[in-house]
């Protein structure tokens, strides 16, 4: 399973973004996932979002753990550093990298095994700290690389490929994140790029951890009748009432925004989220309302998607720590080392 570079096929002039790059500049190496894998659609959405945001490709830092989902960091933005680390450990490694250099866009890609089982504790604490990063869970309810075991997100009663039903209660990353005080919680579907791209763009401009649970069917092991993570099941049960648009205020004239009373949320790092549709009396900035809405939908057997909750007022890890604006990694040694005179002085309290 080698790393395969994508062939460069000269096409007609491609549109360029604000920094003069085409979408190809945000692609990575060729995917080695199965044909039709939901994860490849998520990759494509990330490529699109980064391109449209005109992020300098090297200012992205790609973090992942181990599993099918975690392989996807190789498949976008090859001009960015990537770290395909150890199973479940993406969150602490991303936390450390972000501590060292706050001036980059951290894109963490994880899966349901990686984040809801082996790395569940780490994900919980990354959310608590509100690490400034995008945290995507490519959620397919199954262990793909080891060929089909149930994961912790498998619903009760959901059937495995050979028929047996899951009997253990699932971990729902959305409810978990909401209860932990997460500042940005979304759910989407890999088959719905139209919804996922604006969510990703809003996540990139969010201050703190933006958790995006993306139902991303596994075509090999969990796309059959009886599975609640199949394309068909998700399409039939998706409750798509909370639809955000991302408006990049850096590029668009805000005065021209439609004044139709739609809810707007200003993102910390620029841009606006405009909720095109919202259920009656639903306030995506109200955590309790979000929890209630999601719970109710689950009780009806529906899968609510969209930008379910956002709060731009919660401080991120660096604000809580009062970290200097200059990334720690750029501080010169002379400013970090107190020097010999201070050492002499310090030792006076030890005589």
């Amino acid at each position: 399973m080698p790393s395969i570079k994508k062939p460069l096929i000269p096409l007609a002039a491609m549109p360029k973004n604000e920094i003069g790059l085409t979408i190809r500049d945000y692609e990575g190496s060729m995917s080695t996932l199965c044909a039709g894998c939901g994860h490849d659609s998520v990759t494509a959405a990330i490529v699109r979002a980064l391109f449209e945001l005109s992020v300098p490709p090297h200012k992205v830092v790609k973090m992942s753990g181990i599993g099918c989902s975690s392989k996807t960091t190789a498949y976008f933005d090859s001009a960015a550093h990537g770290f395909n680390s150890a199973h479940g450990r993406m969150a602490p490694i991303a936390t450390g990298a972000n501590a060292a250099n706050r001036d980059a866009l951290y894109v963490g890609i994880s899966g349901d095994g990686d984040s809801l089982s082996i790395g569940a504790g780490h994900m919980v604490h990354a959310i608590r700290r509100n690490v400034h990063m995008i945290y995507v869970i490519e959620n397919n309810g199954v262990y793909g690389l080891t060929k089909g075991q149930f994961s912790a997100s498998a619903d009760i009663g959901s059937a495995a490929k050979h028929g047996e039903a899951n009997t253990v209660a699932p971990v729902d990353p959305v409810m978990l994140a909401l209860s932990l005080g997460a500042s940005f919680v979304a759910r989407s579907f890999s088959g719905d790029k139209e919804q996922l791209v604006p969510i990703l763009k809003a996540a990139a401009q969010h201050r703190g951890l933006a958790l995006i649970d993306v139902i991303s069917p596994c075509v090999q092991f969990n796309n059959h009748y009886g599975s609640t993570k199949s394309y068909r099941y998700v399409r039939e049960h998706e409750l798509r009432e909370i639809d955000p648009d991302f408006i990049d205020t850096g590029r668009e004239i805000v005065a021209d925004l439609p004044r139709d009373g739609a809810l707007m949320v200003a993102m910390h790092d620029g841009g606006l989220v405009r909720f095109r549709t919202l259920p009656a009396e639903y306030d995506p900035t109200d955590r309790e309302a979000a929890m209630h809405y999601v719970n109710q939908a689950h009780a009806r057997g529906e899968i609510p998607t969209g930008l379910l909750f956002v709060d731009e007022s919660i401080p991120d890890v660096h604000e809580l720590n009062h970290t200097s604006e200059t990334p720690l990694v750029e501080l010169p040694f002379d400013e970090l080392c107190p020097g010999s005179a201070e050492l002499e002085e310090f030792q006076q309290s030890f005589v």
């Binding site: 399973m1 080698p2 790393s3 300098p56 090297h58 200012k59 830092v61 181990i66 960091t73 190789a74 001009a79 960015a80 550093h81 990537g82 770290f83 395909n84 680390s85 150890a86 450990r89 969150a91 602490p92 490694i93 991303a94 936390t95 450390g96 990298a97 972000n98 501590a99 060292a100 250099n101 001036d103 980059a104 504790g121 780490h122 919980v124 604490h125 890890v317 720590n321 009062h322 970290t323 200097s324 604006e325 990334p327 720690l328 990694v329 750029e330 501080l331 040694f333 400013e335 970090l336 080392c337 107190p338 020097g339 010999s340 201070e342 050492l343 002499e344 030792q347 030890f350 005589v351």
Partner: protein, 622 residues
């Protein structure tokens, strides 16, 4: 009794007191505030210019269990536990029997004579000195908590009188300690006086041992290893620390935090004119040790100097990511303040039993650079070196301190700092470097020490690479090809081996006529040197080598080759240093004897002497 086998340093028998050569032991109940009293005595002796060491033998508990503190006064500067106690301050009724039983004949017991001692405890061959501490403090202080706390300071006063601590020095120390709290300073002064005056009026004027002010601590400081380690991390320029609370390593991170608050904070004026504090550091209290190392790896990968501090149980959890850092070649500094294992073991007791685990931590073929400091001064120096080595060799570096070094106060030479020091960041390429080279291969283009170049995420526009713990070739690309895989791991082996030349050389001391060498590491040093001195005096000179780093340098092997036989002294059950020497220095195990101490208390010179006699006799019999 075997504990009598070391003669006092000052063995005059003409009735003159022994000067600056005695040991005190304090038996307390933990959580009653005795630590500050014992520490006051230690610091006062140190400030009088007399070499002294203190060892805290404490339980894994917050309040109510027995705890002991030992102070050894040694004009010659011996620091190991003496096990020959001249004065026992018996403040814990639960342990009276054991404590009084431990005294050498002719020794003294200081006890609270508010209540009579049970007759069963009395010994004819020791002297009982009663001070009615509870009554004195009950009369002098009103609050119940204060009455308990001040009993400790009162006994410190009585002990000060008995051994000859200068009252002026005590007053000075209290002044410094409580400069911000006059009420506390006054009550401490008062309690000290109570004990001192009572002793002066009621106790013998002269004991057969006492202090005499000198200059033996000139140029020295009294400091614990964990503070020294934290200071080293600060001076090395570490900006990120991640840790999980664990005895006995907690005070490394806590001291680092205090130091950062003092030296790494600055005021910034915001656009609206408000002034705020900004921190040039991030300290993360992680969810577990696994995460702590993950954070260090992330921060180091992103170009910061980062470290974690932990103890054995934390190292067990970190095994997974130590392998990741080794294979992906990411610097990581890990401070391991060792305690007694296995499992939870005895968290407040010492051992050197993590050596083999740290040398080969993680699954697969791995080997790690280790630094083995013996005292707080080396903790400071090696902590700085750990960062240089980790970045130069792009690999984890573990510094193996221990509870004895880390949590006890040691009198060591003052630390010095060369302002010309510049961190060795290793082979980090900038975009300009890459343009000049024309290419960048993350795991290719090795230098003469098998180190390959890296780039920093987010800072390098043309140096992106993909870091993976899965099989990779010299370009960093995924591989399952045997040769491409082997090429990388073969280089890793050579790289770690090459680091040996940059590690601190062993400390070697040779004696005329010695044929047997004694090898040791870390906090065994004091006990071993004292034992060698005693053995030499009785006609058995032995050579000495203390190893300070792993992989072993050529001089380690040369020392062993230069002796018929060597004996390895260490604080673990399985002779781990001996095993490592057999495995890694190619030494024939039949030429290596072993002296082991693993009960959890710091090794004493007596243990080494007895072990050495046994080993040398064995050599004779062969």
């Amino acid at each position: 009794m075997s504990v009598q086998s070391i003669a006092p340093e000052d063995s005059r028998s003409d009735g003159e007191p022994r000067i600056n050569d005695f040991s005190l032991k304090f038996a307390n109940v933990n959580g009653t505030g005795s630590a500050s009293a014992n520490n006051l005595i230690l610091r006062a002796i140190f400030r009088m210019g007399v070499p002294v060491s203190g060892k805290n033998l404490f339980p894994s508990n917050i309040q109510g269990l027995p705890t002991w503190y030992e102070i050894r006064v040694s004009g010659k500067g011996h620091t190991s536990r003496s096990q020959r106690y001249d004065l026992m301050v018996a403040m814990n009724g639960q342990t009276y029997t054991e404590d009084i039983g431990q005294l050498a004949p002719g020794g003294y017991v200081l006890y609270d004579s508010t209540w009579p001692l049970p007759a069963t405890l009395l010994r004819d061959d020791v002297n009982f000195l009663g001070v009615p501490l509870a009554r004195l403090c009950g009369d002098a202080f009103s609050g119940p908590r204060e009455r308990i706390l001040m009993k400790n300071i009162a006994y410190a006063g009585a002990v000060s009188y008995l051994i000859g601590i200068d009252p002026q020095v005590l007053a000075e120390l209290l002044e410094e300690s409580y400069s911000g709290n006059q009420a506390l300073r006054d009550s401490n002064q008062k309690a000290l006086r109570l004990g001192y005056d009572y002793a002066e009026e009621n106790l013998p004027a002269a004991l057969p041992f006492r202090l005499e002010a000198g200059t033996g601590t000139a140029g020295k400081i009294l400091i614990d290893g964990n503070t020294a380690t934290a200071l080293g991390c600060l001076y090395a320029g570490a900006t990120v620390a991640a840790w999980y609370p664990i005895t006995p390593a907690t005070s490394v991170a806590e001291n680092f935090h205090k130091l950062c608050e003092r030296y790494r904070r600055r005021k910034v004026t915001l656009a609206d004119g408000t002034v705020e504090t900004r921190n040039d550091f991030v300290i993360l209290q992680a969810e577990d040790e696994l995460a702590a190392l993950g954070m260090v790896i992330g921060a180091s990968w992103a170009g910061a100097r980062a470290f974690t501090s932990t103890s054995g149980p934390g190292i067990s959890l970190m095994n997974e990511l130590l392998g990741l850092a080794y294979y992906t070649e990411i610097p990581a500094v890990v401070i391991n303040v060792q305690r007694t294992g296995p499992s939870t073991g005895m968290p407040t007791r010492v051992q050197q039993a993590d050596l083999l685990e740290c040398a080969y931590a993680s699954h697969g073929d791995t080997k790690h650079i280790l630094l083995l400091p013996a005292d707080p001064r080396e903790c400071f120096e090696f902590a700085v070196q750990a960062f240089d080595l980790a970045e130069r060799f792009q690999t984890p570096v573990m510094m193996l301190s221990d509870l004895d070094i880390g949590m006890n106060d040691w009198a060591v030479d003052r630390f010095s700092w060369d302002d010309g020091y510049r961190p060795d960041r290793g082979r980090v390429l900038t975009d300009a470097d890459i343009r000049k080279l024309g290419h960048f291969y993350r795991y290719g283009d090795e230098d003469s020490e098998f180190v390959t170049p890296r780039t920093i995420p987010g800072l390098s526009e043309h140096g992106a690479y993909f870091t993976r713990g899965s099989g990779h070739d010299r370009y960093g690309l995924y591989t399952e090809e045997a040769d491409a895989y082997a090429q990388v791991v073969d280089r890793l082996a050579k790289k770690v081996e090459a680091s040996a030349a940059h590690l601190p050389e062993p400390v070697i001391r040779m004696q005329d006529g010695a044929t047997v060498g004694v090898i040791t590491m870390g906090s065994c040093e004091g006990a071993v040197l004292e034992a060698l001195e005693a053995l030499s005096a009785e006609g058995t000179p032995l050579d000495y080598m203390r190893v300070r780093g792993f992989p072993f340098s050529a001089s380690v092997r040369a020392f062993i080759d230069g002796h018929e036989r060597c004996v390895v002294v260490e604080q673990n059950r399985d002779a781990q240093l001996r095993s490592l020497l057999i495995l890694e220095a190619g030494v024939d195990g039949r030429r290596l004897g072993s002296i082991l101490s693993y009960g959890g208390l710091p090794i004493s010179a007596v243990q080494v002497i007895e072990g050495a006699r046994r080993e040398i006799n064995q050599t004779g019999e062969q």
